[in-house]
Symmetry: C2
């Protein structure tokens, strides 16, 4: 090892590459090594549904930074290098080159753990069968798309009076996709697979889709996917899988079996922390690596960022695990800056998320009613129907907005929305309200833009605030 | 007069009808009289460009509340009743019924002045010619549309080898429209008239369109209207009008004449305060009625709201005159509530406005660079190019964002944006930042939503904040 200061980053996707880049910007003469277990770095996993749907043809479009460009910027990237362990005393990581099957020891001055999240894959009977996918990495996306492409593209004729068969030996027919889990990714993938012409079924364990969204919003999403031909079964638990020739053919549930050629397990993610824990890095009850507002772990010179780390929910002030690309990028950048000697803080998140489900926009920020319950808030829910455009202007669309409001104080705790247009960016206004701990009375005072093609003269955000305010005054 | 408490409202459009309605809600047994000089009440003047363009066929769609429905709600509406004077000592208004040419005296307990704004119409030679329009009231819109309809619809053949002529006697040819003033309404009307197939020219006195917007944004609007075939002349002053048979045919400027069949004067508005001033109601230097945060004027029991009144610009803390429908509705509601004995405040505005110019969205909030100069702020401008969607997701559009940032403090003073999509609602997030007096460092911390169809993983708002932050640190 030379005398240059060295940052080692474990994991080369959003948080890891952000950390590597920000460190290098501040210390251009230092050495930066990124160790990535997989084949790719720096890709936008949120775009995988649109790659699989073929809206994005080439997976290279999902990649922001190739190892070549990273190298040109002075960041050394080792692909297919798995970190086996961290030795915080000696300040070195033990690495396995998966291609060459060789072990190496790499010393570090500063270490950023950005090992991301792992898809939850319950140990059900038959879980090892082929064509049961999770979707988290670019490789997952490539494999799912390849499978669909092969099913739909390659025909094999079996004789003069042939029945066409695809290369999997099945008679050519519509592929049956079964999505286990009705969260954001399950909803997005139901659109993605439907676009590919698949017969799509979603199975959700809970009584609604979109996790703990308010029913007023979840109902709209359910109606949307069903109107697009997706079958939805709620309150149904998967108990196992059956297959033929090592390939899945059936999903077994507590309400009977479903035929399936492709199974997608999208029931959530957990922080990938095994190696960190073994090195003595503390992990929270939420399963993610404990970090302070400088993204420091409990061990000196070791930082953590992204889907393996926790963040402060600014509404409650408590640490939470909400793995999202936006947070990973921000945390990664600040972890890298602080590893390079800066003194930057990552205050936290308010839990903003947005998704497109066919032509429906669904968004949330802050606490859902279930979360507000869980945190012991006294709150009420106030839901309104607004419109995306002036009633005079043609083609306005209805929009549902639901606020979670603390009783007595009137503080906005959370907001959820669904509608065909004007939802995706309106949620950001409410996220800004939460950041500033505004009451619904404050929200009602906002000077929001108005023009007939974009809003009603009382913006739906203001109407919702005024309605909530009225309810609040009645409870006073 | 009976013994019931009586509210009199002068002016029945946005502020006036809001005041009448909110007063009646609180005091259902009191009497509410609305005096409207014109033929219509309670219409959305912001939709007039879309009525003229024929996107909205029927002007009744612009009306929220008819006199009939208002009456059913216990609000007495007198159309075509002009208030000639207010007697604050006797607490009565002197009114002229314009239809019957009769005078009346109406006593009040509380009075709300909502006389709105008047279009600026300079006393240039020929200004009295026909087919020179302003656009402020529904009647203005109806007249402009009728003129265009008649020009384009009615053909008169003048003999066997006829040349078709329209009913104005002109040979059938494309109508030439000349818009004087390149502000929001001028831009919207250029689209509106172009949609009707007119030959459209805009003449602007200043060096840019959209008033005091930053050049980086105004340039985009200029390119847009020109690419749509609108002719634009900047730095040109109108000096008068020429006509034939009392009808305008030419607009004279300091750069030569322009032929015109229709002239639209959209060079701004001023508060309509003559009658209020004559009654002793104080008016600010900005020309609008002075009001406190309860919308009270200097005279007891007289309130003012809407386009005749001023408002506090929360960024500077100073009173300004920015007549907009959103403010008129809010002020009207609160004036009515306070007239009914409530104790509500109208804090103020941050100067948010949004407009659609063909398929371009343009928006602003807070101070423009010129306004920041005028207020004596030390500031810098930071402009970025963002994208409306993830680079992986198809059909993303460029978006320009320009921040006005105070030196040293880093406080956001204003923001302006232009782009084909994702602009109209993003401005509301920045308006919320201004309301909370956030610095660009605060803005960069916001937890904004991300999904590939709606944003980049670093939202353009955050990219702009980070770039501004870098500039700020360099100036420190």
């Amino acid at each position: 090892m030379n005398n240059k200061e060295r940052l080692v980053v474990i994991g080369g996707v959003a948080a890891g590459m952000s950390a590597a880049s920000s460190f290098k910007r501040i210390k251009p003469d230092a050495e930066v090594i990124v160790l990535e277990k997989d084949y790719f770095i720096s890709y936008g996993a949120c775009s995988l549904p649109y790659y699989i749907s073929d809206d994005v043809k080439d997976f290279n479009n999902l990649i922001s930074l190739t190892p070549k460009v990273a190298t040109e910027r002075g960041i050394t990237v080792f692909l297919r290098h798995e970190v086996l362990s961290i030795d915080p005393m000696k300040k070195e990581v033990h690495v396995k080159d998966l291609e060459k099957d060789e072990k190496k020891v790499i010393p570090y001055d500063k270490l950023v753990i950005a090992t991301g999240g792992l898809p939850i894959k319950p140990p059900l009977p038959g879980i090892e069968l082929e064509h049961i996918f999770t979707i988290r990495t670019l490789v997952d996306g490539i494999e799912i798309k390849k499978f669909i492409d092969q099913w739909t593209t390659f025909d094999v004729c079996l004789g003069p009076m042939c029945t066409y068969r695809n290369r999997f030996g099945a008679e050519k027919r519509t592929m049956k996709a079964l999505i286990v889990g009705g969260g954001y990714i399950g909803m997005e993938m139901s659109e993605s697979l439907k676009k590919r012409g698949l017969d799509v079924t979603v199975i959700e364990k809970m009584d609604r889709v979109l996790g703990n969204m308010d029913a007023s919003i979840a109902d709209i999403a359910e109606e949307k996917i069903q109107s697009e031909g997706v079958k939805l079964y709620k309150g149904v638990s998967v108990e196992g899988f059956e297959g033929e020739n090592r390939v899945v053919t059936k999903v077994l549930t507590d309400h009977g079996p479903h035929e399936a050629d492709l199974v997608l397990l999208v029931i959530g993610a957990r922080a990938n922390t095994k190696m960190a824990r073994e090195a003595g890095v503390e992990v929270s009850a939420n399963g993610a690596i404990k970090v302070d507002d400088h993204l420091r772990t409990n061990i000196p010179d070791i930082f953590a960022a992204g889907d393996c780390a926790e963040a402060t929910q600014l509404v409650t002030g408590k640490k939470v695990y909400i793995p999202l690309g936006t947070t990973a990028n921000k945390q990664g950048r600040i972890a890298g800056e602080n590893a390079a000697g800066m003194d930057h803080t990552f205050e936290g998140i308010v839990g903003t998320a947005v998704t497109k489900i066919f032509d429906l926009e669904v968004a949330r920020t802050g606490l859902s009613p279930i979360e507000a319950d869980h945190e012991g808030y006294k709150y009420f829910i106030s839901t309104i129907q607004g419109k995306s455009r002036s009633s005079a202007y043609p083609a306005g669309k209805p929009m549902t907005i639901s606020y979670v409001v603390e009783e007595e104080s009137g503080r906005l705790l959370g907001a959820q929305m669904a509608g065909i247009e004007g939802v995706a960016h309106r949620i950001d206004t409410l996220a800004t309200c939460l950041y500033n701990k505004m009451t619904v009375e404050d929200v009602a005072r906002l000077d929001l833009g108005y023009a007939p093609p974009f809003a009603t003269v009382w913006d739906p955000i203001l109407i919702a605030a005024n309605v909530a305010l009225k309810k609040l005054k009645k409870t006073e």
